[in-house]
Symmetry: none
DNA sequence: ATTCATTTTGATTAAATTTTAAGAATAATA
DNA sequence: TATTATTCTTAAAATTTAATCAAAATGAAT
């Protein structure tokens, strides 16, 4: 159930958008001014933001710029709403890091379509995030979703792979179970942190089939796990 | 500092791209028509080209073809910008084997991500050529929509063929259903991503009639599909 | 207008992955 | 050494995801 933040000070517009998005199964939160918007983003972690340009207080463009400069919010897609339809606006909005742009008056159906398209596109494009990297004899390639050790390929499941990626990106650093859960499972995951243990075990089982390899994933008792530093 | 050549005749779009690429530390040169583009390529030796399809004078497709036929420029990755219209798309995807492909309207962030991804693997991927190509014992012929394995020809339908083409052009790389839908069906396709599954099934059914062939199209559960790497 | 091939949808089944849970093993500490 | 806390191991339950099948919709060709 993706969560959408709508930032607009015109109440009827907000309600129009809310009605249409909720009908499609989205969760909608809304706010009418820029500063409040930034707070909501931090507290509610929306999956997408619909942002009007003319706002009381902080205006839409600066909100957008601020969102883009913060590593925590940089990844959240922003669709800009604007009354002015000049090209200059569109370009400016996109330069500020918006992902799409809808001019008022807009058709609700179109807006919903764009929201969906954007969420879908943002969702999964393996590889656009990061390229292949290696640690000692082991090569990790997100684009191919594979781990290769001495020429032998090992297939991991999604959770296993993500886990390994996070650990291997910073060898030596210890990651707590809680941190890993939040990164991989999401901040609102409500399950047991022992789940991590099981996945770590699966990774070990699969990778230790490779001969003459020291243990890659180390346990740090009472703290968490880390990827072996010197390989 | 990689140097990017942007070829597009819409000034605002060029500026949008320039702004975003320069912010990321790329050097950007730009031109608005096809003939000038070819000269710039020769004189400036860009590391990557972003090419709009609709250009005055020499159109994008011919520019691309000329670049591909010249040994000096064959290796330069080309990312194509397209407004997604049917026939252009077909030629683009099949005959030209574009390195990557972004549909308008696009998000600058996404474009930058693709540029980075493409530069990262520039070395490995040999510039794709038009016309038929082969992977192990299988020959793929975009002109005929056909696949030949050990002398036996198999006819595929258009969707099946496009799918196979995209997968087979980069064996080993995983493509998400979302990406495939966007490339083949268009960014505004509103259907179910399970559609891809059915076409994959059809491809498998047809091709596995060929004897003694390992599975060509591999499922990567939770992620997408990929073409078998070592054949 | 009918036929045929292709594409898409939906329901069902099968399979892989993830999660839970509980006892065994291990390390840390008194 | 005994105690305790923590992690490992295992298996099975629950969930998610993909394969399969059939039928409906679409579209092109006759």
């Amino acid at each position: 159930m993706p969560r959408i933040l709508v930032v607009d000070d015109e109440e009827p517009i907000v309600e129009l958008i809310r009605f249409n998005l909720e009908r499609e199964g989205f969760e909608v939160i809304a706010t009418g001014d820029g500063d409040a918007a930034l707070k909501k983003v931090a507290s509610e972690q929306p999956d997408l933001i619909i942002l009007d340009l003319m706002l009381p207080g902080q205006d839409g463009l600066s909100v957008c710029r601020i969102l883009r400069n913060d590593p925590n919010t940089r990844g959240i897609p922003v669709i800009i709403l604007s009354a002015r339809s000049e090209e200059i606006d569109r370009v400016l909005g996109l330069e500020m890091g918006a992902d799409d742009y809808v001019t008022k008056p807009f058709s609700p159906r179109e807006l919903v379509a764009r929201v969906k398209a954007r969420l879908r596109r943002e969702a999964k494009t393996p590889g656009s995030l990061s390229g292949q990297f290696s640690r000692g004899p082991i090569i990790i390639d997100p684009e191919r979703f594979s781990v290769t050790i001495k020429g032998v390929k090992y297939d991991l499941t999604p959770k296993e792979f993500e886990l390994l990626c996070i650990l291997a990106r910073e060898p030596g650093r210890v990651f707590s179970r809680e941190y890993l859960l939040e990164r991989i499972w999401g901040y609102d995951y409500m399950g047991d942190s022992r789940t991590v243990d099981v996945h770590i075990r699966h990774i070990r089982q699969k990778l230790e089939q490779a001969p003459e390899l020291p243990q890659l994933v180390e346990t740090v008792r009472g703290v968490g796990y880390r990827f072996r530093e010197n390989l």
